[in-house]
């Protein structure tokens, strides 16, 4: 294990991974990891987009992952189901990247695929229209937490089309991976 961990360390260093987390993404976890990104954004304002995308992706995992873990909250220790997933933030020569993955149910797959395809095929103007329509619709559904606004917002903040993959796993479930990239410098 010790040697494997060294390799993992080297690999993460080489790939310039800022942070990687796999497990139950509670609000506490995402706030702490998010703060790390937010602090970096003081030096480079492009990183604020990385932070914003990170928050949307991790809150999606927290609320919608089909795999959950009971995490005790507060001092009374009452457990509360929290979504499990994986999230990685890294940088390359030209961009920053945020990737998140989690298990989704067969019911979620169809909707997610449809939404991703629509987002993928939309230009900036269409994404804005889609966002406007969803924020108004979502708004009347008082109980809903995000109503898919998060994905559209991520696509709007990213500088490149989103990469997504929906890979079938056991029992009709799938593993959903989403990657968003932010350019370090905007093209003139």
């Amino acid at each position: 294990m010790a040697e494997d961990l060294f390799r993992l360390y080297q690999d993460m260093s080489q790939r310039k991974i800022w942070l990687a987390f796999k497990g139950a993404i509670s609000q506490d976890v995402l706030v702490e990891l998010g703060t790390l990104l937010k602090n970096k954004s003081v030096l480079d304002r492009r990183v604020k987009k990385v932070f914003a995308i990170f928050i949307e992706m991790t809150q999606n995992i927290l609320h919608y992952s089909a795999e959950t873990e009971a995490v005790p909250f507060g001092d009374n220790g009452v457990a509360h189901p929290v979504g499990v997933g994986v999230v990685v933030v890294s940088e390359s020569a030209d961009d920053y990247s945020v990737s998140a993955g989690n298990v989704v149910t067969s019911d979620q797959v169809a909707h997610l695929r449809e939404q991703c395809e629509r987002i993928h095929g939309s230009d900036t103007g269409q994404l804005k229209q889609y966002y406007d329509a969803r924020i108004k619709a979502a708004h009347s559904l008082a109980g809903s937490k995000g109503a898919g606004l998060g994905l559209i917002d991520i696509a709007r903040k990213a500088d490149f089309p989103l990469d997504y993959e929906i890979r079938s796993i056991a029992n009709g479930r799938a593993f959903f991976v989403l990657t968003a990239r932010i350019a370090k410098r905007l093209a003139p």
């Binding site: 932070f51 924020i135 108004k136 937490k145």
Partner: protein, 124 residues
């Protein structure tokens, strides 16, 4: 009527609603786990203030970040202000943003497009 003062946390904004002066301010970051739960008392106070007072409202949005579920709640607040304004209430709306923060400025511009309220943009 009582004021509504809420201390900012890492994930919820500071709320400084002063019923006497009519100056209402929201500052900081907004990405609570459950936005609706946080904003419910804010909506309630604003509804009461609109109904029970005739004092002009000066609303200052000074958020440095908000997530998408908070943005639905912000839209809700803006719509309440718009409605009050339509019914004759004097409302001024000030949207503050950092000079290098295009996301906050743009989101203000987008809200402004859909509302009849005049947004005054304040650059810092």
């Amino acid at each position: 009527m009582d004021n509504l003062f809420l201390e900012a946390t890492k994930v919820t904004p500071g709320v400084h609603f002063d019923a006497t002066s009519g100056i209402l301010e929201i500052t900081g970051d907004s990405y609570p786990e459950n936005s609706l739960q946080f904003y419910q008392p804010v909506f309630k106070w604003l509804d009461d203030f609109i109904q029970r007072s005739t004092r002009p409202i000066a609303f200052h949005f000074k958020l440095s970040y908000f997530n998408t579920s908070s943005s639905k709640c912000i839209l809700n607040i803006l719509e309440k202000l718009e409605e009050a304004n339509r019914s004759g209430r004097q409302v001024s709306l000030h949207w503050h943003y950092r000079e290098d923060d295009e996301d906050i400025r743009e989101s203000g511009e987008e809200f402004a497009e859909d509302l009849s309220l005049t947004f005054q943009f304040v650059k810092h």
